[in-house]
């Protein structure tokens, strides 16, 4: 029984750690802020959940509610920050337009007569010329 439990915990821990690692890889490999948000907040959330479940399996039952709270607050709060960061990133031209398949928000803003480009921020030319890798170092 203990062995089975240990195996389950080990598998969950390793899978969770893998997802956290993949999140970190995504953080490095993706080029713009919003894409990085995907990697940082998602893969990592899944990883954390798996690790919490793994811990819950191997701990006495009375620790489970606390672990549940950790999961709950992670799920509640991560999206709020993501949305604020994403919104700010879009408004400050931190989205890599070359990788965008389509941008219906820009279409909408243009239709409203308030295209983003005229409201300050980086001009696209400047953004093109900048090496995205510079920010990493």
């Amino acid at each position: 029984m203990t062995l089975l439990r240990d195996v389950v915990t080990a598998v969950l821990f390793l899978t969770g750690a893998c997802f956290c690692l993949l999140g970190a890889v995504g953080l490095l490999r993706f080029r713009d802020t919003v894409s990085r948000l995907h990697a940082a907040s998602k893969a990592q959330t899944l990883g954390l959940l798996l690790i919490l479940v793994g811990a819950a399996v191997n701990r006495p039952l009375r620790d489970a509610p606390v672990l549940l709270l950790v999961a709950l607050f992670q799920l509640f709060n991560a999206p709020i920050t993501s949305q604020i960061v994403g919104r700010t990133a879009y408004r400050t031209h931190a989205v890599d337009r070359r990788r965008l398949f389509s941008d219906e928000l820009a279409d909408r803003l243009a239709r409203d007569g308030t295209p983003l480009r005229e409201q300050g921020g980086l001009t696209p030319d400047k953004e093109e010329g900048k090496n995205p890798d510079d920010e990493d170092r």
């Binding site: 997802f19 993949l22 999140g23 890889v25 995504g26 490999r29 993706f30 080029r31 919003v34 894409s35 948000l37 995907h38 990697a39 907040s41 998602k42 893969a43 959330t45 899944l46 959940l49 009375r62 509610p65 606390v66 709270l69 799920l75 509640f76 991560a78 999206p79 709020i80 993501s82 949305q83 994403g86 919104r87 990133a89 879009y90 989205v95 990788r99 965008l100 398949f101 389509s102 941008d103 219906e104 928000l105 820009a106 279409d107 909408r108 803003l109 239709r111 409203d112 007569g113 308030t114 409201q119 995205p132």
Partner: protein, 201 residues
């Protein structure tokens, strides 16, 4: 205040009190009398000092639908979590993304918040703008290969919206009161872009 009204108000605050009490007990990690009584007092004090407005009048939580919602979320978390992780490894910086506009049918602050939250939790989609007035979400999604992927993701978000609405027994606004498509294409009077509440300055 009539006693009836008062009792209804107390009933309205009850879930919050219970939740705060539960939180207190769980965080203390013990069931001693001091913790139980102290927690109840703290919860009552907080609710009395910082009363929250009532949200979603007439909402009836439906446990089964909420369960279905959570189950979908879990499946989605694993499925697209893998997709995003794979995209990061396989394509890295060359992964293509898109910003899509998702018209919503629900017209309620809380429900739109919930839809936006869950959309952002689900991997592969981040809400970057909420147009409250026009009931639209602008969702950055990744990875995107073609228009079909975008349409599929859009449909998924709208399915999610339907599940959220169902889980509290919310009915969609009658179509006469402005369908989500029509009123929005009218350009605004002034040039200010909508803020996060969908209002214009």
């Amino acid at each position: 205040m009539s006693p009836r009204k008062r009792s209804r108000r107390i009933l309205h605050h009850l879930p919050l009190v219970v939740w705060l009490w539960l939180l207190w007990v769980v965080l203390w990690g013990s069931l001693s009398a001091v913790v139980l009584v102290g927690g109840l007092l703290a919860a009552l004090l907080i609710v009395a000092l910082f009363p929250l407005p009532s949200v979603l009048p007439g909402a009836v939580p439906r446990p089964l639908w909420i369960g279905a919602l959570l189950f979908h979320l879990l499946v989605d978390l694993i499925r697209s979590g893998t997709t995003v992780a794979w995209a990061a490894v396989r394509h890295g910086g060359r992964t293509r993304s898109a910003i899509m506009e998702v018209p919503l049918h629900i017209d309620d602050d809380v429900l739109i918040t919930v839809v936006a939250e869950i959309t952002t939790i689900a991997p592969g989609t981040v809400v970057i703008e909420i147009d409250r007035r026009r009931r639209r979400l602008y969702v950055h999604t990744l990875p995107v290969r073609d228009q079909e992927t975008v349409d599929l993701r859009k449909k998924e978000t709208q399915d999610l919206e339907r599940r959220v609405a169902r889980s509290v027994g919310y009915r969609h606004a009658p179509p006469g009161r402005g369908s989500p498509i029509d009123p929005s294409d009218v350009p605004p009077r002034d040039g200010t872009p909508p803020d996060h509440r969908g209002e214009r300055g």
